[in-house]
């Protein structure tokens, strides 16, 4: 990235992020948040290098810069198996699209809703649940990351 064009999520330039400003108490953690615009530029760079899925991920990330930490946690949890009904997920997708200006993430959630319904991993009986949800048993990679 051309460093003179970078703006933080709070609109500061890189030059603003210096030790004097830290000492003067002028900066907060929010000032060190990457901006959606920067992430979209990074997505273009990844795409140009042939990494189109990385680019898609960075574009979804760009959308999430405008989503609060807590809401990020909540969306993640909603996408885990057995947490939501089909309607919950489509409502979430609507909110992402209309309330949070996150159409790519919204489409991703809608896609998940369809597949989850088909595979029976939604909460409740509104899915064509053919399979029994099993309980999480942990991560075999835990302990050697």
């Amino acid at each position: 990235m051309a460093k003179n064009t970078v703006r933080t999520a709070t609109g500061r330039t890189l030059d603003d992020l210096n030790i004097e400003a830290v000492r003067a108490g002028e900066l907060t953690a929010e000032d060190f948040r990457i901006s959606g615009e920067t992430l979209r530029h990074q997505a273009e760079a990844a795409e140009a290098a042939g990494y189109w899925q990385v680019a898609e991920n960075l574009r979804r990330a760009a959308e999430l810069t405008g989503v609060s930490n807590q809401e990020v946690f909540d969306i993640y949890d909603a996408l885990r198996p057995g947490r939501c009904t089909y309607d919950n997920l489509t409502a979430l997708a609507d909110r992402l699209e209309k309330g949070l200006a996150a159409p790519l993430t919204a489409a991703f959630v809608r896609e998940a809703a369809e597949v989850y319904q088909e595979r029976g991993i939604l909460r409740d009986s509104d899915s064509s649940a053919k399979r029994r949800m099993s309980v999480a048993k942990g991560d075999p990679h835990e302990g050697a990351s």
Binding site: M1, K3, L14, L17, N18, I19, V22, R23, G25, L27, T28, A29, D31, F32, R33, I34, S35, T38, L39, Q42, A46, A49, G50, Y51, Q53, V54, A55, N57, L58, R60, A61, E63, L64, T65, N69, V72, F73, I75, Y76, L79, R80, P81, T105, F108, E111, V115, Y116, E118, R119, I121, S134, A136, K137, G138, D139, P140, H141, G143, A144, S145
Partner: protein, 740 residues
């Protein structure tokens, strides 16, 4: 009846491991399960309707995700129609660039990717790794953890790891609630050792995400993905939830890499009868489809499971290769304990070490195994010198830079003081001077004072859930005088805003220069291309602190000009009585004063003389000038000896008993293991020479056999012999010596 040899073999470290025969139905098979599908793809109207013999109406979660996100439909039909053997040959063909294979592989299904690598031997796969690795410059990752979760020790260990060149340092916890403090300690320590080291604290996803959001960590490789639907569900995730998580990390400027590996599905009981490698290929396509820049794969913590099976280690290498074919950054395992056998462990490592990967280990214990909270780890701090020597032996960059003890002590103390200042500034439980001192010199956490765990956990909670941020940490470091550490931690935060290190395979080189596929793409295409260890880097890698200067060796072995106790008194004459001539090498008792076994030449000569005189035979001493070869020194002495028997001695202590009528390279006795000789050996040599001269029956001198002597001392032998050879005057006949 038992063979004693088989009894010994049964007790070898390698036989503490478990070896089983394949059982495909439950997934206990490395490759080629009968239930693995053959490759296929069918695309209708831009939609995948069949993949690896499964119709879309039967797709599970993973098939759906791969079909929708992973496959490059523009090349899928061409890629699938290209014979697998042809793509395999392209992988080892230096004339085919990496980009060509990346493009073809982007259209391959899991079964196709497996079919390609199944054409290849491990050697060919290693060639594939050298070419397909994403980043040109190889690197390595460290583990820094300890049982006491001691912040000063964590900070010091992270600093040492950074100094040693690890590009990433990861920590984890014994008790989850410590996570924020451990992340903080490793952040401060790593930036004390070397600016630009990426750090993470591996914990449960929600906490992990919070740590990243706080700026306490800069990467995450905790995102596990699985090769079967049931395993995924048991892991309480789906490809969509994991992909969302990946985007969430990126949205806060945190680098992520997914984790998967052979054996996980079998271990979790949901293999569907598929081979480990096939299921891992599915994981890798999920990883790519989710837009992860990379993967931590190579079986990881499951490594012992594929290793129990035939072809398991080859399959683990194959999974690294498939990941690279998909363009992913690969942290290639070698992190969890892979064997009781040093031979097996090292042999396995070489598969990644020699070709080089983005991270040769996805966690090298930069701490003692006792303190490794990632299950002990495969390699630890005591094996660092082995690693350095392997780099030097093979002219290979394994990602580590040699350091001196002084440098290490310096950064450890500084890192301990930096975290002490941060704890003080944040009002956290103080870190005492005694703790700083202990952390500076500690071997492991047993050397550290205990801390008030309740108070530390309280501070950790405050850090994670309160208003404190890394900005406060930077301010405290700056005000406490740790300007460079403050600047480095600040730069890490600035880099989050820039986001260049979100590109595939990114690490920071010197001065926060980003090395990634964008700035440092692997361009290997055979000899003379790609990353090569040369110039300054090669000079650094060969300069181990324990490597010494051979030019100054002779000063160190005491080759000082002492008083002349051996005086040349004229040309040596041939004797005509029963006597023993002791013929000395050109430097004996002069330029060189001790044998390689550390014996003073005076004592050695006295012992030989005693041995001879004890048998009532007279002796005289001459010096050979024309040769430094032991046999020829002895042969020259024998020509001068009245009895025809002589003792020939080189300065390094090698001795021969020679006889006039033998061929020069023949002898009565050759005593070549000089490092093992004591003065009694030399007395026996003198006695035996006298007995040969007197015609008495003689038992050859017995010496201790130490087969490691040559290994230990061949350099010293070479140098002593070189120095003696430099004293040779080819045309000068032997001279008579007077011993005073």
């Amino acid at each position: 009846m038992r063979s004693k040899r088989f009894e010994k073999l049964a007790k070898r470290p390698v036989n503490r491991e478990t070896f089983i025969k394949p059982w495909p139905e439950v997934g206990l098979i490395a490759v080629d399960s009968p239930l693995d599908p053959s490759p296929s793809v069918e695309i209708e109207n831009g939609v995948v309707v069949e993949m690896d013999r499964v119709g879309c109406e039967e797709f599970d979660l993973i098939d759906h995700f791969i079909a929708q996100h992973a496959l490059n439909l523009g090349v899928a039909e061409r890629a699938m129609a290209t014979p697998s053997g042809e793509i395999a040959r392209m992988l080892v063909d230096i004339n085919v660039p990496r980009a060509t294979i990346l493009e073809l592989a982007s259209g391959c299904t899991p079964a196709k990717l497996v079919e390609i690598v199944q054409q290849m031997s491990v050697l060919e796969m290693m060639m594939g790794l050298a070419k397909m690795r994403a980043r040109r410059t190889p690197a390595n990752q460290a583990h820094a953890t300890n049982r006491k979760e001691h912040p000063a020790l964590l900070s010091a260990d992270a600093a040492e790891g950074a100094l040693r060149g690890f590009a990433e340092v990861e920590t984890t916890v014994g008790v989850t609630r410590y996570a924020p403090l451990n992340a903080l300690a490793v952040l401060v320590g790593s930036q004390t050792g070397r600016g630009g080291v990426l750090t993470q604290c591996a914990v449960e996803e929600a906490v992990n995400l919070r740590l990243g959001f706080k700026g306490l960590t800069s990467y995450s490789e905790t995102l596990s993905v699985y090769g079967t639907e049931d395993t995924f569900i048991d892991g309480d995730d789906t490809p969509w939830s994991k992909a969302f998580l990946g985007a969430a990390y990126a949205s806060r400027g945190v680098k992520t890499r997914y984790t998967s590996g052979t054996g996980a599905a079998a271990l979790m009981g949901h293999s569907e009868g598929k081979s480990m490698l096939y299921l891992e290929a599915r994981c890798l396509l999920i990883t790519r489809g989710a837009g992860s820049q990379g993967t931590q794969n190579g079986s990881i913590s499951c490594i012992a499971l594929p290793e129990s099976l035939p072809g398991g280690v080859r399959a683990v290498l194959a999974e690294n290769l498939i990941a690279m074919m998909l363009g992913l950054e690969v942290a290639s395992g070698n992190d969890a304990l892979a064997s009781h056998s040093e031979m097996r462990k090292t042999a396995k490592l070489m598969l990644q070490f020699i070709p080089g990967t983005d991270f040769i280990t996805s966690g090298y214990g930069a701490i003692p195994r006792y303190d490794n909270m990632f299950g002990g780890g495969n390699f630890d701090v005591t094996e660092l010198d082995d690693w350095y020597v392997l780099q030097r032996d093979m002219q290979i960059d394994g990602g580590l830079t040699p350091v001196t003890e002084e440098q290490v002590l310096h950064v450890r103390e500084r890192a301990a003081r930096a975290i002490q200042a941060v704890f003080d500034g944040l009002g956290f439980p103080p870190i005492s001077e005694a703790e700083v001192e202990a952390a500076t010199t500690a071997y492991d956490s047993a050397d550290m004072p205990d801390r008030d765990k309740v108070a530390d956990i309280g501070a950790a909670h405050k850090l994670l859930y309160g208003p404190l941020t890394v900005v406060e940490v930077i301010r405290i470091l700056e005000e406490a005088g740790f300007h460079d550490v403050a600047a480095n931690v600040l730069e890490m935060q600035r880099q989050r805003v820039i986001g260049d290190y979100l590109q595939p395979a990114a690490i920071f080189g010197d001065d926060f220069q980003v090395l990634s596929v964008v700035t440092d793409p692997n361009d290997y295409q055979g000899p003379g291309t790609g990353y090569r260890v040369e110039g300054e880097r090669w000079s650094v890698l060969q300069s181990l602190p324990q490597a010494w200067e051979p030019r100054t060796y002779l000063k160190s072995v005491g080759a000082v000009q002492e008083s002349m106790w051996l005086e040349e008194i004229g040309p040596a004459e041939r004797g005509n009585q029963v006597e023993i001539v002791i013929a000395l090498g050109p430097a004996f008792g002069a330029e060189i004063s001790h044998t390689i076994g550390g014996l003073d030449h005076r004592d050695v000569l006295s012992a030989v003389l005693q041995g001879i005189q004890g048998e009532g035979v007279p002796a005289r001493v001459v010096r050979a000038h024309h040769t430094s070869d032991c046999a020829f020194i002895g042969y020259a002495g024998a020509q001068l000896s009245g009895s025809g028997v002589a003792v020939g001695m080189q300065s390094k202590g090698t001795t021969v008993i020679h006889q006039r009528d033998l061929a020069p390279l023949d002898n009565l006795e050759l005593l070549s293991q000089a490092p093992n000789f004591d003065l009694d050996t030399y007395r026996q040599i003198g006695r035996n020479a006298a007995r040969y001269a007197s015609g008495e029956s003689t038992i050859p001198v017995s010496t201790k056999i130490d087969n490691t002597a040559r290994l230990r001392l061949i350099v010293q032998t070479t140098l002593l012999h070189l120095y003696e050879t430099q004293q040779v005057e080819r045309d000068r006949p032997p001279t008579e010596l007077r011993v005073s």
